[in-house]
Each structure stands twice: as C-alpha cells, then as structure tokens.
Amino acid sequence: MSGQGLGRPVVTSALAVGRGVRSLWLLALLLVVWEVAARMVGSLFVPPVSQIFGAFVDTWLSASPSSLFLSSQFRADVLPSLVRLGLGYGAATVLGVGLGILIGVWRPAGAFFNPLIRLGMSVPVTALLPIAIVLFGITSGMNVFLIALGCLWPILINTYDGVRGIDRTVVTAARSLRLTRRRYFLRVLLPGASPAIFAGMRISIGIALVLMVISELYAATAGLGFYIVSQQRLFQFPQLWSAIVLLALLGILFNAVFALVERVLLRWHRNVRPDSAESH
C-alpha cells in the first residue's frame, strides 16, 4: 500500500517528462538542423544557434547577483520596453474592460459607440505611428499610446461579448433574488464575463509585444526594437538574433504567467481547466 503511494508521484513525474519531451522534440531537432545548416553554409546573416545563445548570454546576462544576473544592456534596452509594455497594456485593460462593461450593460451606449469601435478596430495602429510622434513627441508616451490603442480593441470587444453573452437564466435568477447592483456586478456580471475578458487580454499580450517592438524601430532612443535596428546597422547579427530570442522568451513567459493567473482566477470555469477538458 505504501509502495503504491510512493510510486504514483514518480509515475506522474515520468509522464510529465514524457509529455515535455513529446512536445519539445520538434523544436530541439529544428535547433540541431539550424546549427548544422548554419555551420555548413557559413552565412553571417543566420549564425549558428550556439553563437546566438553565446551572444544572448554575453548581451543580456551578467554574473552579478546584485543586478539580478541581468546585464547593463538589459537594463538599458529591455527595462524601458517592459515599462512601456506594462503601462500600455495596463491602460488598455482598464479602459477596455471599463468601456466593454459599460456598452455591454447599457444598450444605448453600445449602439452609440458601435460605429466608433468598428472604425477604431479597422485602422492599423502602426499607421498611426507618425501621428503618435506628433502628439507625444519622441518620448515613451508615444510607445505607450500605440501599445494601449492596439490592445484596447480586443479587450473591449471581448468584454462586451462576455457581458452580452451571460446566460439569460442567470440574469433572471439574479433579478428574482433582488441582488443589489454591487452584488450583481461582483457575483454575476464580472464572473460571467471574465472568461471572455481573459481571452481578450490574452490575445492582447501578443499584440502588445509586437507593437512594443514596432514602435521602437522608429524614433526611439532605447528599447528592444531600437536595439534590433541598431545591431542590424552594425552587422551584429548574433546580437540581433539574441534580441529576437529574448522577445520569444518574453512572449512565452508572459503567456505562462497569464495562463497561471487565468487558472487560479477562473478555476471555477470548467473550460480553462485542462484536466476537465481532457475528461470530456
């Protein structure tokens, strides 16, 4: 009996490792193929993976615990980018969720704002870059504005859909219970719309990363996008690729953190639980 108790976690861990290997073998094989191909061809534009990882360590990491093992280059170019991303994404979340709930609950507001929202969604945010420079100057405000604007629409629309999509039976039940507005908002509306709100926020993370880089390619004095352009001009392609690897890692990290938060906050929602999804 006790032997069975000890064996179960081991089997579970082995299965988890097996799943990890199954999902990562293609990536590992691709990296090996990349390494061999790059060495055979000798292209300076596409250096071997080992050289890129070497540049990654040299450029972004340091041996100093006092700087959290992050290099001065990281502090100079990545931190400003992350601050812009955080501010833009945060502003978009606050505005998108607030406006989405407002137009979802109050039908006249929905009808009033609908054309404006459709127009805003149709304009590629990158096309507004020159306007943003004029409005905000060559400051981080320009980057924050573009990130916020790009992330706003998916969050707003998803919030609106989430609010409008709450089961009518639940709404009727809440009314029959004569819930106060506050209780209705906190116990019915927000939980009911939150899966859709989270979906919009998750889509927006990717958009925020893209806009962060694009807005820094032009008229910036620091940031990851600025660093990429700068290294391209200097023909420092391992360093340039290392910045791309860093962006990919940041994207994975943000998604992982988001998935974790989503799992904790929406644990009641069956569709976001992988085990329950598998059990269906």
């Binding site: 293609l26 191909a37 534009f45 420079i133 060559i138 910036a220 004095t221 391209q232 023909f235």
Partner: protein
C-alpha cells in the same frame, strides 16, 4: 500527427537553408556584348542619371539595371545574396560589413565630403531662435539622424567629440529626412543632421551650427561594394569602376553642369535651377585607403569597432588611388 510534424520540420529546414544560402552569381553577358549588372540605388544619384543618360555605362559594355535598396545594410545583403551586383553604401557601412567578415570588396568610390573652401553641403540644424549656439550646447540633447549607427550619426558624434562633447551624452533619434526639420521646429528634437539639399522650403527657419562633414578629413559618403566572388569572376567590376571614373570626370567639367542638373531634374522632378543652387558633395571614384583607414579609426574611437581592421585586401587594386 507525426507526418504533419515531419512535414513542418522539412519545410522549416528548407526555409532556413533558403535564407542562409544564396550567393553572388556572375554577371550575365548579353548578345550585344554588354554585361548586364544590377546596381543598388537610393533614388536619383547624379552619376547614375548622367552615366545612363550619356551612355557612359554602355561605353564600358555595361547594361545597368538600378535596384532600389532601403539602406547600406540592405545593399550589402543584396550583393551577397546575388540580388544585386554592386551595392551602394557609405564608407562606414562598407568598413563595418567587411570587418564583420562579409566577403565583399570595395570596387569604387563615388562621393566624398565637400571640404573647405567648398560651400558646406551638410549641417547640424537647430531652430532659428534656438538657444543652442554651439556643439557644447548639444550635451544631453536629442539629435535626429536618418538612421541609427549610420554615417550621419558617426560623423556628428565625431564632430561632437572633437568639440569636447561626449557622444554618449547625446541621444540620437532615427527619423526620415523629411520629418527631421518639422521635428526640430516643433521641439520634438533639439537638432537634426542632414544635407542643405534636404531642407526644402525651411531654409530660413533653421540655422546650422556647423557642417560636421567639413570638420573632418576626407569621408567616403558613397562607395560601391561587390561580392568578392563577383569581383574575381570577370572584369565587370573593373569596367564599372572605369565607368564611374569617367562619369566623375565629365561631371566635374563645368561645361556639363547644366546638362547634368537637367538629367537629374528629370529623375528627381525638382527644377534644375533648384538642384544647381544646392551645395553638392564632391565626386571621387578612386579610393584613398588612408582616408578609409582614418574612417575606421573614427569608428574605433566611437567604440563601434573593437579594433581597426586591415583594409588592404578590402579595396580592389583597380579602385585604389
């Protein structure tokens, strides 16, 4: 599922090989005995409009096709991938690419800075009423250049350094030339480094602190590079240099000035008189290796290169002065 993954892997590997491979192909000979070559361009260069319009390239048995490129690094990529035979790059970009290990050679110079007593062709422009009066006032300020780590930034940084201003104390901002003067006038940047010819109708709204190009020794503002393999394959690169040399000589003849600007005007759609009134950089087809060496040293001083490369093998024998 496995078949799909394997298919994806094969596709990715093929993509990687395709992007990593490529290479300079030899120039193709036409039936009329001319050699078809492609040359990168940023738009309308006076030597190209002249050499094409007056048949100088043809005289040297070259059938030139101009290929637009977005900048020096794109031009280097174009010659290495075989998309172009000759890449139009500034001397700093050429040195940088060579130092990185790209198999390229300089086959011709074409444009050098206008040194005194010639009229300044470039400037560091500030608003007419700006409190910035000299290089020293630019410490801690924002200066617009057309590209980060490009020739304009390097020359401006060297000029600042020569005037006692640490280039690191200045923020260089990349803005297209057309947006630089409006950015200065609206206060979004403190200064902009560009040519007088790019001021448009804003001549009387800005003033120049100095021409940073004139404060330096000879600088190769424009050169042509080709893949080493292309240079070794035939004499097309040598003929190209000879064509540029002859074009530069003809353009230096005052008797040809009006005609040169008329041809350029057709390309640029700007009145010939306007073009003629703008200060021009000097033309020099032969490459002075000592001048290139000094440019490399500037890059070392600005910490853009770890050490000065040996530029001897970089410049082809036929292009040397």
């Amino acid at each position: 599922m496995n078949t799909r993954r394997t298919g994806a892997l094969v596709a990715l590997a093929a993509l990687l090989f395709t992007s990593a491979c490529g290479g300079a192909e030899g120039a193709a000979d036409n039936a009329d005995g001319t050699t078809k070559v492609s040359v990168t361009t940023f738009g309308c260069e006076i030597w190209n409009t002249w050499a094409i319009g007056k048949g100088v390239y043809g005289k040297h048995r070259l059938d030139v096709e101009l290929v637009r490129s977005g900048g020096g690094s794109a031009a280097v990529a174009a010659v290495l991938s075989g998309a172009a035979d000759f890449g139009y790059v500034n001397g700093y970009t050429a040195i940088n690419a060579y130092n990185t290990g790209f198999p390229i050679q300089m086959v011709s110079g074409v444009n050098v800075n206008a040194l005194p007593p010639a009229k300044p062709a470039q400037g560091v422009f500030v608003g007419k009423d700006s409190p910035i009066k000299a290089a020293a006032d630019l410490a801690g300020k924002k200066i617009a250049v057309n590209e980060i780590n490009g020739i304009n930034q390097i020359v401006t940084a060297s000029w600042l350094k020569a005037n006692g201003v640490a280039p690191e104390s200045v923020s260089f901002v990349a803005l297209p030339f057309a947006e630089q003067v409006p950015a200065v006038l609206s206060g979004r940047v403190d200064a902009a480094q560009l040519g007088y010819s790019l001021l448009g109708n804003n001549n009387d709204k800005v003033r120049s602190l100095a021409d940073p190009f004139a404060s330096s020794d000879k600088i190769y503002i424009a050169t042509y590079v080709a893949a080493k393999s292309f240079v070794g394959k035939g004499d097309a690169a040598k003929r190209f240099h000879e064509a540029i040399t002859e074009t530069a000589q003809q353009l230096s003849d005052p008797a040809n000035t009006d005609e040169a600007f008329r041809l350029l005007s057709e390309c640029q759609k700007v009145p010939a008189e306007t073009l003629a009134a703008q200060p021009q950089n000097a033309l020099e087809a032969d490459v002075d290796v000592a001048a290139l060496d000094r440019m490399a040293q500037q890059m070392v001083d600005l910490k853009m290169l770890p050490k000065k490369p040996d530029l001897g093998p970089f410049v082809t024998d036929f292009a040397r002065s």
